[in-house]
């Protein structure tokens, strides 16, 4: 096994044996389980809380699409914020603790170090999204009696591309900014920029900004063209990782 594979295996074992196995999976599983139930019982909950204050206003009867919308909204906001905060130290934590020195004085290149991290954590995120979507899908079928899969899965997989893009971005920011909080702040700023950029239709149609809004449209069962945003996001993710590897190579440890 070469240095890349050994280091990638270490990353995977580190996920399984540290806090990483609890935080992001815990958040995603929690929202995957609670989303369909909340969607199904929102009218009853609102009615119970508001009492007579609603007057003649009645909430529409929820459908499975409301459960899907809950899942995608939670992915796009809470899960993405958590991801940005967690991965703010993906590289800098190893530089600070001295473990990067332990690894990089062995036959492992700095590019391998960075790429292995992005690859393993992207697979980890993909696994979590698949598990979470399966849970939401199954629970939606139980609660609503019907749950066609295409809208949910297309929305979740398109969001996954955004998630991978942010893992790549946080890797670069973690190389450039030694402070985890500083990198996370910059990541949240980037998220705000992407969300604002999506307001302008050409950017939404052709750039990664589209991934900020399109998963919600897909989850609502709308027909949305996602090819360009997905392609440009993947290209940008690769470019960010290459930039992170280059910057890390030039950095004194």
């Amino acid at each position: 096994m070469n240095g890349f594979a050994v280091f990638a295996r270490k990353e995977a074992r580190e996920i399984l044996r540290t806090w990483r196995i609890w935080v992001l999976p815990g958040i995603l599983v929690f929202f995957a389980l609670i989303g369909p139930v909340l969607a199904r019982f929102t009218p009853e909950i609102v009615g119970a809380v508001a009492g007579n204050q609603l007057g003649g206003f009645t909430l529409p009867t929820p459908t499975y699409l409301d459960a899907y919308a809950q899942w995608v909204k939670n992915l796009s906001q809470i899960a993405l914020f958590a991801l940005i905060i967690i991965y703010g130290s993906i590289v800098s934590a190893e530089s600070r603790s001295g473990t990067a020195v332990l690894v990089l004085t062995k036959p492992v290149s700095r590019a391998s170090f960075v790429i292995a991290k992005v690859a393993v954590h992207s697979v980890f995120l993909a696994t979590l999204v698949v598990i979470g979507t399966l849970l939401t899908w199954g629970l939606t079928a139980v609660v609503f009696g019907t749950a066609p899969g295409s809208a949910l899965w297309s929305a979740a997989l398109v969001w996954l591309v955004l998630g991978v893009l942010f893992i790549a971005l946080m890797t670069l920011l973690s190389v450039l900014i030694g402070s985890a909080a500083g990198a996370a702040g910059a990541g949240l700023g980037a998220y705000a920029l992407v969300s604002i950029a999506a307001i302008w239709k050409p950017l939404e149609r052709y750039s990664p900004a589209g991934l900020a809004t399109q998963p919600a449209s897909l989850a609502a069962g709308k027909d949305v063209a996602v090819l360009w945003p997905v392609l440009t996001s993947l290209v940008l993710a690769v470019a960010l990782v290459a930039l992170a590897a280059w910057a890390f190579r030039r950095r004194d440890l």
């Binding site: 096994m1 070469n2 240095g3 050994v6 280091f7 295996r9 270490k10 580190e14 044996r17 540290t18 603790s97 001295g98 473990t99 990067a100 020195v101 332990l102 690894v103 990089l104 004085t105 062995k106 036959p107 492992v108 290149s109 030039r250 004194d252 440890l253």
Partner: protein, 309 residues
């Protein structure tokens, strides 16, 4: 003999501060080389440049015939490194850490099994099952030495390797380094002069980023060392010191601890004959007369200067 390490005009600056200033260094293969210097002299910076962890501002580093800047994995495969404060994955055990380190070198499993067992024994960590996060600083230092040896390196680079060890651990490590002489080139930085005198055959002294001396220890002591005589008498030391100072064989006289007279001499034999005669003529009691060579510590102090100490 080939050079295991050769630096040419190696310079590293951080902003306005020149951490290393045009360092030319040659470390021969198979030697145990001590890299001495006071705190802040640039020893750790030097090791970071040798390992490729930092890039030089100017100059070059050759390790085992390869240029560090371009050779990459080819150099790292032959080198073992212990940083001054080794960092480990806290969630691993010592055995897992050594297997991980060995895996990064691509050592095949059968070889690694035996080597891990041997190194755990060497580090005194056999049978220790708790995770590295719970280790004392000394245990981490010993584990650091073990991981630096996992690839049976041709060149072993150690940054202050004995700083966190107790006396027994320190002795064991120094004995181990001595046993490597001739097989592995050992380059270690330290400010502990006794460690250098015990195990090194060659030494370089670094001061404020510059190598102020580099030579075999005996040659260094002969070059900078002078002989001195220490005298202690029961009384009248001040007058005696003044009279000794007037002798032709005495080049300098200073007062040491407990009223001792420290005489730097040009001819130790003449001093050994002359001092008792002067003491007897003054009818003083002679309680100590000791002649000896200047040690590495005095050489170090002379070269580096007193202001940092």
């Amino acid at each position: 003999m080939n050079a295991a390490i050769q630096t040419t005009a190696l310079t590293k600056t951080y902003g306005d501060k020149r951490a290393l200033d045009a360092v030319d260094l040659v470390v021969e293969e198979g030697s145990v080389f001590g890299f001495l210097g006071p705190n802040g002299a640039g020893k750790t910076t030097m090791l970071r440049l040798l390992t490729g962890l930092a890039c030089p501002t100017s100059g070059s580093v050759q390790i085992l015939g390869h240029d560090v800047a371009s050779a990459g994995n080819a150099v790292r495969a032959e080198v073992g490194f212990l940083p001054d404060v080794p960092g480990f994955y806290d969630w691993m055990t010592a055995e897992e850490l050594l297997r991980f380190a060995g895996g990064l070198f691509g050592i095949e499993r059968r070889v690694l099994d035996g080597r891990v067992e041997m190194l755990l024994g060497l580090a005194g960590l056999s049978g220790v099952t708790k995770k590295v996060g719970g280790y004392s600083r000394g245990m981490k230092q010993r584990l650091g030495v073990a991981q630096a040896l996992v690839n049976a390196p041709k060149l072993l680079l150690l940054d202050e390797p004995t700083s966190a060890l107790d006396p027994m651990g320190r002795k064991d490590l120094l004995d181990m380094l001595t046993s490597l002489r001739g097989r592995t080139t050992v380059f270690f930085s330290t400010h502990i002069l006794d460690d250098v005198e015990r195990v090194c055959d060659t030494v370089a002294i670094l001061d404020r980023g510059r190598v102020v001396a580099q030579a075999p220890i005996d040659e260094l002591k002969a070059r900078y060392g002078v002989q001195k005589v220490v005298v202690e008498v029961t009384g009248g030391a001040d007058e005696l010191a003044a009279e000794i100072g007037r002798q032709t064989w005495a080049t300098a006289v200073a007062r040491g601890a407990n009223g001792a007279i420290e005489v730097t001499v040009a001819d130790v034999g003449a001093a050994q004959r002359g001092i008792p005669a002067i003491v007897a003529a003054r009818q003083l009691g002679l309680s100590r007369l000791e002649a000896g060579e200047m040690g590495l510590e005095e050489v170090f102090v002379e070269l580096v200067g007193g202001e940092q100490r």
